[in-house]
Symmetry: D2
Subunit: 141 residues, 4 copies
């Protein structure tokens, strides 16, 4: 089943031009939870050299949307209705991981929470740099 | 004065790697209001070929932040504390314009609203595709 | 037509126990825009004696919901999916007016913006104390 | 220490007229986490007889604010800058519990998450009816 879930998400992810533009990759797919990885790059910066809120937002919006997709009925896709994000720390790091989780999935709407973790090095230590709360809509394909 | 305002914003805008990566340009700077333009490009797409919510968000977050910068005391910069965005329509169009406006500016925090307009052609007709409400923080440089 | 709109909203408003508990009244109903009035009362306070964010939120959430109701198809009601509110100033005043406006109304979802105005006296001078952006859902009765 | 924390929060809670008006009580105070209880009452209803989004919001906003207060420096108080709330299910139940938790506390701003649980009966079974993400500001008394 996880293989089918992964395929469903990966097919859609590959069609997102923006993810390739940013250098983001699909890191993990499970029922109700999706991870997207993003290495640091100067092309993603805001004016102080940190990663721009817009890039941070892009990966965690996609992670939340794909988490919702893993819970959506067959034949449905997901579009983002709205989200709110707090940038709790400057997005400083070698690499970033966006985690999206479904908190509640109805027939029509799903509510997801997301976080973005910044890793200073190759180890497991991270700091949370952003928190998201999002509403996704199921739309018939 | 508008020249100084424009310089202040343009200098910071030029340092945002992400704006260049997306193809966004600074279109208008006035006290309390900033516009950012973005032509459509496939590299900005989500899975249906529309512009990704993350790209839409990136330009209107920057427009709101720079609107706040036009109201910030000398020697201060702006960082985004948080924002909320509604994607009210698919981001379909030849070009997009993000407008950020300051609604309330205190010593510490500014509250801004933003919208993103989609233009199907070269004329003035547009549809609003996104609405933002954001909180910006003044930080000493 | 405005009479029918007003009736539709007033009938539902009268059924909201919380509005009576707070002392709020329906002040204006037009297509896409609803106003709710609230006089100051100590029973609404937070710890500094201002009106509590929760009371401010309650009236502008209702104003947004009823604005959406004026645009909803016959036989449908409105429930709040989510909202975001900025409390831009302490809610100090003799009386308050919440204004909800529909920005975009689809078959399923409506996006509304709202503001709450504080009046220090009987005149027309006011200060905006809160800004809301909300998503409402049409549900069949 | 928990006694001092509890006193700090309880003193402020007792000064919130709105909490008494709603019938809410302070249920638990720990460092970074505060619970507020609310029994169902018809005076809190929206038009379908559920608890109004405004009442749900009031208790979880206060829970988040008081959670932030437990982390604030001596001599500081908390005001809500903004929050976003998803009403994920109708607020149906005999009693409700709002839980506010600090996710990140800086010198100036704290970011909190909150949830509201609905209990159908006297047991421990609950459903989450609302999720909040909030920004609180430390202000010198």
């Amino acid at each position: 089943m996880n293989d089918l879930l992964h395929q469903r998400v990966a097919r859609s992810f590959a069609a997102q031009g923006l993810m390739e533009t940013l250098g983001a990759t699909l890191a993990h797919v499970a029922e109700g939870e999706v991870h997207i990885a993003l290495p640091f790059a100067a092309k993603l910066s805001q004016q102080h050299g940190y990663v721009h809120a817009g890039a941070v937002t892009s990966i965690v919006d996609s992670a939340c949307g794909y988490a919702a997709l893993t819970k959506a009925p067959e034949g449905f896709e997901i579009v983002t209705a709205e989200f709110k994000i707090n940038l709790v720390r400057p997005a400083l790091g070698q690499r970033f991981l966006a985690i999206g989780r479904v908190q509640s999935a109805g027939r029509l709407l799903a509510v997801c929470t997301g976080e973005v973790r910044a890793y200073a090095g190759p180890g497991d230590d991270f700091k949370v740099v952003a928190l998201m709360q999002a509403t996704m809509v199921n739309v018939a394909r």
